[in-house]
Symmetry: C2
Subunit: 344 residues, 2 copies
């Protein structure tokens, strides 16, 4: 399992890639946003291709959108020697990669992640998939892109809220694997962070974990810190009016605090550590309004988490700054306490 | 890539399998036919499980049926440690396997092929998939079942036409890989063949090829002998009134004769060999009525064949009895000649 990632301007990396490869056809997948803001930067660097534009947002990361993509691929008569190029954030990378991995039992694809979130997380590690009946990444496969091309220039196309969302995964990578980096970031404001450096750091942390356990039988589960309650919160808020919906990183920020609480409750981290985490995350993300009506649904949603075994809900919990345990069973009562702690 | 296949009565193999494994939940997938005729034979041998029954036939090997299966899996709260058990022919094995391989990025599945066709072909080799917009196996993945359990007792549940359909793949395995076995079968009528022996032979031939080239980069393509025109014929006849539709093996029988003609035209086999193949296959399968109106559409349909590269249609063609070449480009004009030769 070799996660090939190149951090460089696309003006260099893309021509270089096409010099070394020979595809029969190329399909570019973008959403309405990235078609406008990112596609113009890559278009002049590409050979002849077909562009598919899909509606943007997690709400469209589903089979219906895949059918639209497969339809275009079929009409363009893509054969097994064709390439799919995904230009967009995590939704485009996960869904476009899934469409490529399943088309004629798998054709090559390249990820050009355009959000901070996808640059530091989704583009690395070969997890592909779509949502089903509202459950996140319920359908998918493990499959590696031919290469991931990361260019920090795309960050200039993002609103600050998107940058902040991506920062959540950077924070996670520091908390689970690198105490020194955590010290470095936690004393800076959002706009003082060094993004190119942090992208490279996150990619390294993630690659290192994924290469040891590509299909998440064990160690890789630590990357799910903040994601069990985080995903449930994200899914729950998808059903809310538009103004209340959360970006992925905003939900993961809630997940890291609530799961930090769980780690403290299980005596895996001390109170001071919990408060340090909480203080920094609240300073960046503020607090999401979670009402007592929400809590039951959120807990119910954790039942569909892919790490579960049978009826037991299992978490990846910090056992110190820079260190994380996995497969820790947590009761519904403790989840309720964690969410009440957060909301309180 | 280890294709584990066990040929034994399910009364032995199934209890044995469950003694050695520990699944959180079990879902059994069957179609209306196999639910009635085959499921009763395995039901008493299974731990507690959920049964999904899907409509039968190739026409339902599509995303809509997968959604029904995924819906049941989700409602049954299947986790990653669950098992899918496919009880049926190639359609159920391909589609049920695909559903398992994609659910939560892949859970274990076991194949219990109940038709001769699936016992000698579909259940071995890890090709999973469904049709899309009428194109056969257009969406899918490569993934191996935990084990394939083959029990010849299920052949007793099949009408003779189904047995004959499966025999086409046995003929193919002899023609591409074993001249001695070809000599053995071609002097017997359909009801004189030794099925348990031929099943074991076909499984061996196929395993041997697949293990050398699991993802069909090269050698595995020889298994597609008869399938380029055969698939196109099958797809074309799917659109005909019910009485004229063909079973898979019936279409492959057409494919083996027409592609035999192509091999002869390219001087890869002599006329006597072509006539030997033709005579035996016609004696078993009779002749399908292909009219001049059909020919253009059939040729057009070969454009979606997964072996193609760009606009070139590539065939796997015999270069002798028991030997097969692959990636042989064939023109539309030659395909037309082959179909006219068959029809004439």
């Amino acid at each position: 399992m070799n996660n090939q990632v190149q951090i460089a301007p696309v003006t260099e990396s893309l021509p270089d890639f096409f010099k070394k490869t020979d595809y029969s056809k190329i399909v570019v997948i973008a959403d309405i946003q990235t078609r406008r803001h990112c596609y113009p930067l890559v278009k002049p660097l590409l050979p002849a291709h077909t562009l598919v534009t899909v509606p943007n947002g997690e709400a469209h990361k589903n089979l219906a959108t895949c059918e639209q993509i497969w339809d275009t691929m079929t009409k363009a008569e893509l054969d097994r020697y064709a390439l799919v190029l995904n230009v967009g954030g995590g939704v485009i990378g996960d869904m476009g990669g899934f469409c490529a991995a399943v088309y004629k039992r798998g054709i090559d694809f390249v990820q050009i992640p355009t959000t901070l979130l996808s640059q530091v997380d989704a583009s690395v590690g070969g997890k592909l998939g779509i949502d089903f009946q509202g459950f996140k990444n319920h359908l998918g496969v493990f499959n590696l892109p031919r290469i991931v091309l990361i260019d920090p220039i795309f960050l200039q196309t993002l609103p600050p809220r998107e940058i902040r969302s991506g920062f959540a995964e950077i924070i996670k990578h520091c908390l689970i694997a690198d105490a020194a980096k955590w010290e470095e970031i936690r004393h800076k404001e959002l706009d003082e962070q060094n993004w190119p450096d942090l992208i490279a750091h996150s990619v390294e942390v993630k690659k290192n974990v994924v290469e040891q356990d590509p299909t998440e039988k064990g160690l890789r589960k630590i990357l799910n810190f903040g994601h069990t309650l985080g995903h449930a919160v994200e899914t729950h808020f998808l059903g809310k009016p538009k103004g209340q919906r959360l970006l992925h990183g905003e939900a993961i920020a809630v997940g890291m605090i609530t799961e930090g609480y769980l780690a403290h409750r299980k005596k895996m981290i001390d109170r001071q550590t919990l408060e340090q985490i909480e203080e920094f995350i609240f300073s960046i993300f503020g607090k999401v309004l979670i009402q007592s009506d929400d809590i039951g649904t959120i807990i119910e949603l954790t039942r569909q988490d892919k790490k579960n075994r049978g009826r037991e809900i299992r978490f990846s919990l910090l056992d110190g700054i820079g260190s994380c345990a996995f497969d820790v069973p947590v009761s519904s009562a403790d989840m309720r306490r964690a969410l009440e702690y957060y909301a309180g």
